[in-house]
Symmetry: C2
Subunit: 268 residues, 2 copies
């Protein structure tokens, strides 16, 4: 392709497709939610279920039909055509532990990358019937309407800090998380991808996580940037498909700048 | 009263009333959910909102009208007639931090105690549109139907461990929580009262918490006991309105017996 970013008309089409993908995925994941599901432990010890695989398959089938020339990177079924300009990045069930324990905070994450940069992202919450949709240059939508947007919090002492689990952090990373979160108003654990949606809704102010994969973080970028929030790596750089997966999301750039010194030199 | 427990007819009436209380409370708490709410910090540093107070007021008004001779213990507006045989124990918004951050896992907890022992309990989840109802000698209901019930897990190595936050635990308590949770299949943080509902739904297997107040734990007892799960203090004793608030809830008595040795001598 010859353009430097996705043209508006094409983005419109991709937004329709992305919503269709989320619509297609929902009944598949929900058909397994709170049902007995065979669970396997993957090599990295994360639980994977048939629900994850079938949900991704449903998404891939529709992609193959509608945009066979695009690349795909999915958590469960690997990659295809990553050298193409447009690549869909899919996490069929983010928060598998939430999913397998009947907690409604699991999500389906769908992103479109243009030359490695996220240009479109969906955080879909099937059990909550909630959907966040972001696209470059457009206001983030929550269930079809503009999202309230982040809180105007600029000082750590006023910030509500979220991360999925302290177990995500070890050594110097753990110390940084402890120091940063202790300087915040309070901290709360749990939540997976939903924590990022809570920034867009004006609930959470800081989310700090590490070792995320592209299918965990790519969809978050357009959602957060489209409502004025910030999402960067621990060195303060924009996220791309090759980022390390150390993620700092903040309600404001002031909170980003106040948080980054805690993470200094931790980015690999 | 002259009976040793609540007669069946009276329990029927109280169940109707308890559901009415939860129905009355829902629109009050939901009218403040994801809205800007003035937040104060209480003496114990937990955030309290106008939503908490008004939700409890709505419940108290209906109790005063329907059962003016019963006692009441509420989180926000104190106690009244605790020497009476029948006392309602109310937490208008359990999980205030969840509530003020827009997380849908806050609950309204309603219990009825007979001579200090919980005989009826409701865990109502307004933002999820879910309700758990338990009463002594009756099967626990989830949205009006019998709840699936706990998983038949008997070994810690298979158990899914939940607690709201590691920050709840210090010193020897913290070590006990770490040791117990590390011996489980996995652990997950966050969730507040909903974690107990997840036992009844067959998701969580162990929930360990400390320093709960009667309005935090009394409603949980009939919900869990009515579906065959176990809920005791850290010395393995049944919970009553005078319990210390160290709570161990398990899917099975085997998991209870496997967990209690970790908590030995920690109960005050």
């Amino acid at each position: 392709m010859a353009f430097d970013t996705v043209p508006t008309d094409a983005l419109d089409d991709f937004l329709v497709l992305a919503n269709d993908l989320a619509d297609r995925a929902r009944p598949v994941s929900m058909s397994y939610f709170r049902q007995p599901v065979p669970i396997e432990i993957k090599a990295d010890e994360s639980p994977v279920t048939r629900a994850d695989r079938e949900t991704e398959e449903a998404i891939r089938e529709l992609l193959a039909k509608r945009v066979p020339d695009h690349g795909i990177l999915g958590e469960e079924h690997g990659q295809e055509g990553l050298d193409r300009d447009l690549v869909w990045v899919i996490d069929p069930i983010d928060g598998t532990r939430a999913f397998i324990t009947g907690t409604p905070l699991f999500g389906t994450l769908i992103a479109l990358a243009y030359r490695g940069r996220p240009v479109l992202g969906i955080i879909d919450m099937p059990a909550l019937n909630e959907r966040f949709v972001g696209a470059v240059g457009r206001p983030t939508l929550f269930n079809g309407k503009p999202v309230p947007g982040p809180r105007n919090v600029t000082r750590l002492a006023d910030a509500q800090f979220f991360t999925t689990s302290p177990d995500m952090f070890q050594g110097a990373d753990r110390a940084a998380m402890e120091n940063l979160s202790r300087d915040c108003r309070f901290r709360r654990f749990g939540g997976d991808c939903y924590n990022y949606g809570l920034i867009a809704l004006g609930g959470a102010d800081i989310v700090l996580e590490r070792d995320l994969k592209p299918y965990d973080f790519m969809s978050l970028v357009p959602v957060l940037e489209g409502c004025g929030a910030s999402i960067v790596d621990w060195a303060g750089r924009p996220l791309s498909i090759t980022s390390s997966g150390q993620v700092l999301a903040t309600a404001t750039t002031e909170l980003r700048d106040a948080s980054l010194p805690y993470l200094d030199r931790l980015e690999p």
